[in-house]
Amino acid sequence: MNWFDKLLDWFSGFTDQWEKHGVKFTLYTTIAILIGGLFELVPPFFLTKTAEPIQNVKPYNALELAGRDVYQKEGCNNCHTQMIRPFKWEVDRFDPQHSYGKDGYSKAGEYVYDHPFLWGSKRTGPDLAHESQIQPSAEWHKTHLINPRDTAKGSIMPAYPWLFEESSIIDASKIADHMRGLQKVGVPYTEEDISSASTLLAGKTAGDALIAYLLKLGRDTAELSKSLQ
């Protein structure tokens, strides 16, 4: 291990020098921590294959976006994932109708309009990436959200009855602002999309919007896949 000792001597020879110079030390530390970050964060933006857009995937309409806001507000992403890994057992579980052909796992192109991404890191409840294909009934979702135990006995999901109350009716002008904000970060909303907010959201509660969002998840890619089949 003589060579290792020599390596240590050589390395500590110059790091010892930095330890007496605060500025130098801080500068070299910053360089050390920047290298890895730059290497991993910058290239993906320039590699075209990082997120190949899928032609059918459309931005969320005003109602679906309002639902996505509710999903974020309630922190649904703390218990539900939205990302299906390429395993047979995950694909079988989350694509029971085989709506996506043999490729029932998640692709980068499905998330191009997601600001932020909502993949989640813990799957306490089932994955929702293809929810529109697994449970297409809006009525079922409403019963489930009001009291999860009514549709799934033994579920540990919190009940969300207030989402359907009068007080939860969504302010359409706010959602229009949200769409303008998203426009600035690259979501291709047209003026028509934004002006449709007031009609789409008229009288809708947070719960209605959330269901619309859940029924949007996986729908565009499933439709594309069906048209190809």
Partner: protein
């Protein structure tokens, strides 16, 4: 007032110690509550106290309330001693303490209201993010000005780890939190989909690295040798493990995204660097252990030393488990399950928590110039906390591995063995109940410590008498 008050500013250390205790109790209380919500859904009191809204409150209060308070307390304490000068500005440090606590209070209000950015450990909305930047800059000016006016030329190892944290935290925080505000209470990340995921986990994993690891290694390098009055085992080992740790850690983020649509080269890079991280992490652990063996005879009698020992053990354990979980095949089973929750809590309850408690037991008598009210209560705290951690981790291991196995179980016909999700949930219930009990024990330990600390502070000024832990020194009778 302690005798060192003329030379050093200890008021700020006391302030952060107290906010650490307050946010520690708050975060762990919420933690125990949400643990039981996972078994008894009736404990979700809507709309403000459901799991989805309380979970970010728990993590934010634990990481940025409890851990960061302890980090700032020790940073202010050590930088003054290691540089042999008073903190550069008393006013700035007070302002830092005030604005910091104001932010955490605001976080404790806004998160239950559902105002969040949905990015793990970066949930706070943009006005609070700006506030954080303001007090962090105030702190940085004060800290670096102290270093530049120092009377001790050599920067000791503890300071390196603090400096690495101070330069990295702002970079991570700002890059990940870039968002476009659409109102005072709502913003959207400027990044989308896969890019957002990549940046989020670069941040998320390095919050573990530069908030929950490097500052605690820094405090280990100061308080462990100080407490046992023996030098650190190897200076050269600290050089090697410091530079390799800070260089390698930054790369590890993508191991959170294995099997996701993130480009393969990134996933593999993340995995490879995560496995390499095992070496510098164990370098730090071994340096701590080998230092500690110089006082091994006193482990039986000294609660602080026991906590340092268990803290280091859990550091070694979770930094072994981390690289293990970052291997693709293991991640395939463990990802998204309770195993990860167990792994994280091995690090937080075991390493961060135990090191923090050790530091509190070390600092409180010195800062308030009195002796600890009861060594016996400290000892009780140690045992009850250790038992709590073990119960927590073991139940989460069993739960997580059961969960992952049941998800992937396939019968002879190739169909899913457990297609019904609730069936899996029901199987995990007992383990999740034990997790809640383990967390409860840990919280009881903390409350015992707070009682001990309060009684100690009530005796403040009665004169502090140090116990010499060196081998061969006269045994002190422990009350």
């Amino acid at each position: 007032m302690s005798s060192s008050e003329q030379k050093y500013n200890d008021t700020i250390v006391k302030g952060f110690l107290i906010s650490g205790l307050v946010w520690g109790v708050a975060s762990m209380l919420v933690g125990v509550w949400i643990a039981f919500q996972m078994v008894y859904p009736e404990l979700n009191f809507g709309p403000y106290f459901t799991f989805g809204r309380l979970r970010p409150l728990h993590t934010n209060a634990a990481i940025f309330g409890f851990a960061l308070s302890i980090i700032f307390a020790t940073a202010y304490h050590t930088v003054q001693r290691l540089c042999r000068v008073r903190i550069w500005s008393d006013k700035l440090s007070n302002l830092h303490l005030f604005l910091y606590n104001l932010t955490i209070i605001a976080a404790a209000i806004t998160l239950p209201l559902g105002l969040n950015q949905s990015k793990e450990y970066a949930e706070l909305e943009w006005p609070l993010d700006l506030m954080i930047v303001i007090w962090f800059v105030i702190f940085l000016i004060n800290y670096f000005a102290t270093i530049f006016t120092r009377e001790e030329k050599q920067l000791y190892a503890a300071i390196w780890f603090y400096i690495a944290s101070w330069v990295t935290i702002p970079i991570l925080f700002i890059v990940n939190n870039l968002s476009i505000p659409v109102s005072w209470i709502k913003s959207y990340s400027v990044y989308s989909g896969v890019y957002d995921a990549n940046i989020q986990w670069w941040y998320g994993h390095n919050a573990v690295a530069f908030v929950l690891t490097t500052p605690f290694l820094g405090l280990m390098y100061y308080y462990l040798p100080k407490h046992i009055k023996q030098p650190i085992y190897s200076h050269r080992l600290s050089i090697i493990h410091f530079w390799s740790l800070i260089f390698l850690y930054i790369w590890a983020g993508p191991h959170h995204l294995l099997y996701s649509p993130l480009p393969d080269w990134l996933q593999t890079t993340g995995m490879v660097f995560s496995i390499m991280l095992w070496m510098p992490s164990w370098g730090g652990m071994l340096n701590g252990f080998l230092t500690l063996t110089q006082a091994k005879e006193k482990i039986k009698t000294d609660a602080t030393l026991k906590m340092l020992l268990v803290g280091l053990t859990f550091y070694g354990m979770s930094t072994f488990e981390g690289p293990l979980l970052s291997i693709r095949a293991v991640s395939g089973l463990g990802h998204n399950t309770d195993w990860i929750i167990g792994h994280v809590h091995g690090g937080t309850l075991g390493w961060v928590g135990m090191m923090s408690f050790a530091v509190i037991y070390y600092l409180v008598p010195r800062m308030w110039n009195t002796n600890l009210f009861s060594e016996r209560l400290a000892n009780t705290h140690f045992w009850i906390a250790t038992l709590g951690i073990l119960l927590y981790i073991v139940s989460m291991w069993v739960s997580g591995i059961s969960e992952g196995s049941m998800w992937r179980a396939i019968d002879e016909t190739g169909a899913l063995k457990f297609p019904n999700w609730v069936q899996i949930t029901e199987t995990l219930k007992p383990y999740r109940l034990f997790r809640g009990i383990g967390g409860g024990l840990y919280l009881i330990g903390l409350i015992i410590m707070i009682y001990n600390v309060v009684r100690t502070i009530m005796n403040s000024g009665s004169g502090f008498k140090e116990i010499d832990l060196r081998i061969g020194s006269k045994e002190e009778k422990v009350v």
